[in-house]
């Protein structure tokens, strides 16, 4: 996304130019601080002891670095009545994310392919109807979903939560793959058909290997969305089956005992790490997913 071919336009050099550049970098730097300070505060606070937090100030760096808060957040902080830390809830999130992302991505790829490369009458209308599902405020399906999970015997369970994420993630995954496949020449499909390949043969041997970038973008998008979800987690799970976001909120908003800000911050970082790590490793794809989600159609 970087632009290289305009860098060379000859410009008036001089003090004015220099001043503008200085101002530019100053402004960019100030905004870097704006975005980074909360992260720095979060990390610094998590490494301080409670006494140091009370005595020191928000922006001061920890004097005696201690990982006690981290240990406590991970394995002994109280979430509701249970005092095992975030650890069990973290694994809940993992158990939820892996199947939910895998299933919704595979189904999205298959559907995007069928809707674009094997066009049949009404495909556009079907796509529009499915796409609308990506935009509904989920409040409107909370009540019937809770009932349905109850009927299915999945209420308050992780498989139930996986089901919810797969269903409401499908609209997005289908959208991503449809947008990708629209750019794939139909000539390739026709050539493969002439060579005698069928619907699934073309999908697995030709289309899927080509769509690796779309797969990566979709997986990262779904992963971030599902990891960071709170609404479905709090509405459809109870206690032991909560995902880590819900547990974090419970840790922070628990009203019993002394407020341990350092543990709160450590817990927040632990909850943020899975998505933050993916962002740092695969930032480019993350950005592509964000803009793919933005520029529909």
């Amino acid at each position: 996304m970087s632009r290289n071919n305009l860098g060379g336009i000859v410009q008036q050099k001089g003090t004015r130019h220099l001043m503008m550049r200085t101002l530019l970098f100053l402004t960019l730097g100030v905004f870097c601080l704006y975005y980074l300070i909360p992260l720095i505060v979060m990390i610094a606070t998590s490494l301080k002891s409670l006494e140091e937090i009370r005595a020191g100030s928000l922006l001061s760096l920890p004097q005696d670095v201690t990982f006690d808060a981290w240990a406590k957040a991970w394995s002994s902080a109280c979430v509701g009545v249970r005092c095992d830390g975030l650890k069990p809830f973290f694994w809940n999130s993992v158990a939820m994310v892996v199947p939910a992302v895998t299933i919704s991505t595979i189904l999205g790829a298959l559907n995007g392919y069928a809707l674009t490369k094997w066009r049949f009458p009404g495909a556009d209308i079907i796509f529009a109807l499915i796409l609308f599902g990506a935009f509904i405020p989920f409040q409107v399906i909370l009540l019937p979903m809770a009932r349905t999970l109850g009927v299915l015997g999945l209420a308050g369970t992780i498989p139930g939560l996986v089901l919810v994420h797969v269903i409401y993630g499908l609209a997005f995954t289908t959208l991503f793959f449809r947008n990708f496949f629209i750019g794939v020449s139909s000539g390739i499909i026709q050539a493969a058909q002439i060579d005698g390949a069928g619907f699934f043969g073309i999908f697995f041997r030709i289309v899927l290997p080509m769509s690796l970038p779309a797969v990566v973008v979709t997986v990262i998008w779904q992963y971030t969305q599902i990891c960071n979800d709170f609404l479905f987690g709090i509405a459809f799970t109870v206690g032991d089956s909560n995902p880590v976001t819900v547990a974090l909120n419970n840790v922070v908003n628990t009203s019993t005992g002394v407020k341990e800000y350092n543990v709160d911050m450590a817990a927040a970082i632990i909850a943020a790490l899975p998505t933050l790590a993916v962002y740092v490793i695969a930032g480019a794809y993350f950005v592509r997913g964000l803009s793919a989600g933005a520029v529909k159609g």
Binding site: S2, L24, L28, L58, A114, F135, V140, T174, I234, A268
Partner: protein
Amino acid sequence: MAPRTHSTVPLGQKIELWLPRFVVSPLFALSLFFVYGFILWTVYISFTKSGVMPNYSFEGLSQYERLWATPRLYVALGNMFVFSALFIGISLAIGIFLAILLDQRVRIEGVIRTIYLYPMALSFIVTGTVWKWILNPGLGIQNFVRKAGFEEFTFDWLVNSDYAIYTIVIAAVWQSSGYAMALFLAGLRSVDDEILKAAAIDGAGSFRTYFSVVLPIMRPVFLSTVIILAHLAIKSFDLVIALTGGGPGYATAMPATFMYSFAFQRSELGVAAASAVMMLATVIAIVVPYLYSELRGTKQ
């Protein structure tokens, strides 16, 4: 429009013809049931006298009357209006400003972009937790400034019911303005290089080039960004819960938290359903015309 089934067409080919439809139909069925079926269910419940348990006898508009008689609803609607306007406005302003700055051949652009965008990777719960700490009057910014010598400094918006809603704006802008920046930057980069060269030869300075040439071309990007931010704003739930819990009192209630508390805490299913239907109507009013124009645009 049934495909012609000629007796000489082998069975395999017939199956092949129908396969795409077989593949799409489960998804479509799911979508019909879990989206449209559920919407209808919720709409129907909003017209019944359901309380703790669903009750399927039709009651007309009574749940809506109860909903509209709830003062908390007006707080929630007012909050949503204030929050959406400020959140969208400020995020757009910061986004476009930063995108233009980053478009000035900044060598370390990749690093800066990463820094601006990382909050978007965080959960709103994490964002809420962090800002709750920073805005905490006892140990946060207020304390920091007081210790710096300004003893009288007060910044207690988080616990002040008149101002608490603005703390949600602050945190939401922090999280999403980088996203707006990324969308605008991608938009700026999609403008044809030759057009910018033409503007340079036409003698337009950077200011004129942006405002007279580039930004008008980016109108569709503006529209998508506003729609996305509006959509985020209407659905905002997590951040409110994590930052203020809807408080103090219900000073920072939003439609999403309103619906949640009536559905799962106060067990007033009818009122909850009615409020959910109102949210849906709002989203439809914004999103459907947009989707319609976008999908029509693709076909051309």
